[in-house]
């Protein structure tokens, strides 16, 4: 085995060939430029470092130009994009730290470990900044349910998310799951984490202080996740078996120890800067820390705790082993830090120091193995101005054109038992949603998920809460990326408001196909434009995010999936609004009146379920109207007039209404607008539009005081419609047209996922 070790290191130090560079993911032009700027040919280790730093994931080379356009400022913003996570001020000395990140590709290869390490990774981004993680969300996309692989992936991903989150003890409080054939060979696993920190105790990654020690803590470095293409290369060695990329395995137990030990050390003042080792491991963490501080870094690779004896410098620098941290400490405080990490049984090693030469200098076996100017890795990283073409589907579909000759009841049942609408209980019951004791509601009970700010309660005051919502309707984004993205932000805001909270800021995860294709780049450009527009209008700046490109298989892209993660604050958790109505409540629609006698079925769930194609113009977006409605909701909630609320989105009015009635098994005689009372065969389509249309800017509320609300609405020029009063009979009557049981709907709704999962 000795010869292999020498071989490995020997090859790491050889001049890199163009062919090898390409295998690592660099383009010929990029490699040429590197050689030119460096005035020499880099060795294999150095080239590996370039390839990692120039990768789409680290350099954002396709999107940087556009991401700059996002609004990132606001009085609530403490830290915008550019750090491990965004930070916002929630009053007092409290701050919220949050970010979303994808782990799509690894989850397809090994669903359990891929999803688990995705959760572990985003949690480290949060506690790196000094915050205790208080909630997790997850946004999942799978292929069609008839695809046998889907079941396997769903099982594995859900178990993996739970496996990590449950064990480390952070509640998973909500998320989204959607199935579509475009994800058959490219699932999406996006995990979002939220942490709570003290405003005056935020930690950053910017290196400071020449001569200060660089510390490695956490798990040992193994061969996990080293770039496959490179390592499979026969040219590196004849021993190919040893070079295969290895699956990253999450160890939530070590993750928990790392979390507690870091938070314990953060109570002292000896950490100057800290950065987790995420994508591209030691490479990106060390380069980013040093370059942010405009300093240099020296590392002795012999000091890195390794799992296997014969690791080369290339492997050490590119390993993506989990549960590792890099920190810079005050000189002389190494022992104090070491004591804490030893207490938690974690590896601790002083691996180098901060220098002033603005270089990354690596040494192994007393030899320099890498000597690169940081500027070349960061500031001079490629930035592309890719061609793009924005495509919208402008074909306006009238309900007359697509309505199906089935009864409302038949269609409603189809929607209820559809996996994209039906209950996700099978998923969320596998997640510990109540650990930490601060969960107020999950998004199955309210429109957003709410966790209490720990210890914010005093005497008779119950405390304040953080509201979180994740949203993305890819049907809309595909048919109109800009409007779709605008609506994703809007829907998130509506959800937060329908829980009684106030939206504050946004994180986003841009999941798209190959940006080298004009249409895909067009989706990205228009999406960012849409996010910008809504976020500016709502004053919810974007403070963090992630981009995941090349989500394609055999040239076929996934549906564009720009996921929005929004957080808000509710000043008193006793004022949280839930979804479920009670008996004898009046249900009102805010934003719709008696004049409305049809609805928008283009790009709707109705269309998706009843037709194989789903296109057409997306529903009209009216930001002003949206804001008027949510502001009105907030105002009447302040007067304690609301018992329950639910926004009308996927599926339209009737399915949304049913979700309000399920919990208490309520019935209702639905009032229809006069214009819909006496339809015949030629115009019955209007009723379909009315029940299932996805017109925006509408919210359902349950109240005991409809008169007061209607008066107020009239005064404010807000449309309102009285749908009727709930009763205990569990039967829904829709005028003379239809009647059906709430219980039956509920059973279909609950059976949606178990049905496809049964063997």
């Amino acid at each position: 085995m000795k010869s292999t070790r020498i071989n490995n290191e020997f090859f790491s130090l050889k001049k890199c060939s163009l062919k090898q560079a390409i295998k690592m993911g660099l383009t010929p032009e990029e490699f040429e430029l590197i050689c030119k700027n460096l005035k020499r040919i880099p060795n294999v280790t150095e080239t590996g470092i370039f390839s990692a730093m120039f990768s789409e994931h680290c350099s954002y080379k396709s999107t940087k130009k556009w991401l700059k356009k996002l609004p990132t400022q606001g009085i609530q913003v403490i830290q915008g994009p550019g750090e491990n996570a965004g930070v916002i001020d929630i009053g007092g000395n409290d701050a919220i730290v949050f970010k979303i990140e994808s782990h799509n590709h690894p989850s397809f290869i090994e669903p359990y470990q891929g999803a688990a390490t995705g959760v572990g990774g985003i949690l480290r981004d949060i506690f790196t900044m000094g915050a205790r993680p208080i909630a997790l969300m997850n946004v999942l996309r799978f292929g069609e349910t008839i695809n046998p692989l889907t079941k396997h992936l769903l099982n594995g991903v859900v178990a993996g998310i739970g496996g990590y989150g449950n064990c480390i003890g952070v509640p998973t409080v909500g998320g989204e799951t959607y199935f579509h054939k475009s994800y058959n060979k490219n699932i999406l696993v996006n995990a979002m984490a939220i942490g709570l920190a003290k405003k005056n105790k935020i930690f950053y990654s910017k290196a400071t202080g020449i001569g200060n020690p660089v510390i490695y803590v956490g798990a040992k470095t193994g061969r996990d996740g080293i770039h496959g293409a490179t390592m499979a290369s026969a040219e590196f060695s004849n021993n190919t078996e040893e070079k295969k990329p290895t699956i990253q395995v999450g160890d939530p137990f070590t993750g928990k120890l790392l979390l507690e030990s870091c938070l314990e050390l953060m109570k002292t003042d000896i950490i100057l800067s800290i950065q987790d080792m995420g994508a591209a491991g030691l490479t990106s963490s060390s380069v980013e820390m040093a370059s942010k501080g405009n300093l240099g870094i020296f590392l002795n690779l012999d000091k890195i705790p390794v799992r296997e004896k014969n690791m080369s410098s290339y492997e050490i620098m590119l390993s993506e082993s989990q549960e590792r941290m890099l920190m810079i400490l005050k000189k002389g405080s190494e022992n104090e830090a070491e004591k804490i990490f030893k207490k938690w049984d974690l590896d601790f090693s002083i691996i180098g120091k901060i220098t002033n030469n603005k270089k990354i200098l690596l040494e192994k076996n007393n030899k320099t193995v890498c000597d690169l100017p940081l500027k070349m890795l960061v500031d001079e990283a490629p930035e592309y101005n890719r061609d793009y073409k924005i495509k919208n589907c402008n074909n306006k579909i009238h309900s007359k054109d697509i309505y199906i000759k089935k009864t409302i009841k038949e269609i409603l049942f189809k929607i209820m038992e559809n996996v994209n609408f039906g209950s996700k209980r099978w998923i969320f019951e596998q997640y510990d949603s109540s650990v930490m004791g601060d969960t107020v509601v999950t998004d199955s009970e309210s429109n957003s998920s709410i966790v209490k700010v720990h210890k914010s309660d005093k005497n008779n005051f119950s405390g304040k809460g953080i509201a979180i919502s994740t949203d993305c309707n890819s049907r809309y984004v595909k048919n109109n990326p800009k409007m779709g993205a605008m609506l994703a932000v809007i829907e998130a805001a509506r959800n937060i408001c329908c829980s009684g909270a106030k939206p504050l800021a946004v994180t986003n995860n841009l999941n798209f196909g190959n940006p080298e294709k004009k249409e895909i780049m067009g989706q990205i450009v228009a999406t960012i434009e849409g996010i910008k527009k809504s976020c500016e209008f709502l004053n919810t700046p974007v403070v963090s995010g992630n981009v995941s490109l090349y989500n394609e298989t055999n040239g076929k892209s996934i549906l564009p999936t720009p996921v929005i993660g929004m957080v808000g604050v509710i000043q008193d958790i006793n004022k949280v609004i839930k979804k479920n109505a009670k008996n004898k409540n009046t249900i009102l629609i805010l934003g719709q009146d008696d004049q409305k006698d049809d609805g928008w079925l283009g790009s709707s769930l109705y269309q998706e379920i009843l037709y194989s194609q789903c296109d057409g113009k997306v529903p009209e977006v009216n930001l002003k109207q949206e804001k008027i409605i949510i502001d009105f909701l907030t105002q009447i909630h302040a007067n304690d007039l609301i018992i329950a609320a639910h926004d009308i989105s996927d599926g339209g009015l009737l399915p949304s209404l049913m979700e309000m009635l399920f919990k208490n098994n309520l019935g209702m005689n639905i009032n229809l607008p006069k214009k819909l009372m006496n339809l015949n065969r030629s115009n019955i389509y209007k009723l379909h539009g009315w029940c299932f249309g996805e017109d925006q800017a509408r919210i359902l509320i349950a109240t005991n005081d409809p008169a007061k609300i209607i008066t107020k609405a009239n005064k404010n020029d807000i449309k309102v419609f009285d749908l009727g009063i709930t009763n205990k009979k569990s039967m829904i009557k829709l005028g003379n047209y239809d009647g059906f049981s709430t219980k039956k709907c509920y059973n279909l709704y609950e059976s949606a996922l178990p049905k496809i999962l049964l063997d």
């Binding site: 290869i109 090994e110 470990q113 798990a219 193994g222 061969r223 996990d224 040893e242 295969k244 290895t246 699956i247 395995v249 160890d251 137990f253 070590t254 799992r307 296997e308 082993s321 989990q322 049984d345």
Partner: protein, 82 residues
């Protein structure tokens, strides 16, 4: 006939459980341990009298369900005498 299927995580893949068990044994004073691996074992009694067929049957079950070949290695032992 019975087949015994031994499944171990691939050598190069981190096995946090094996790590934790080894450490705990060390803490209990077992200091002679050089290395510890943890695997699963599945013992299946099948309606089959031919050794070769039993092996093939087991191999098929491994491929179809029992083994996750991206992270696990396995071996099949046909127990003739049982």
């Amino acid at each position: 006939m019975k087949v015994l299927i031994n499944i171990f995580p691939k050598k190069e893949i981190l096995d946090p459980e094996a790590k934790a068990i080894k450490k705990s044994l060390n803490n209990l004073g077992f200091n002679k341990i050089n290395d510890l691996e943890k695997g699963k074992q599945i013992l299946i009694s099948i309606d089959e009298n031919d050794e070769k067929n039993a092996f093939k049957y087991a191999e098929e079950m491994c491929n179809k369900l029992l083994v996750n070949s991206t992270i696990e290695d396995h071996e099949i032992i046909v127990l003739k005498d049982r």
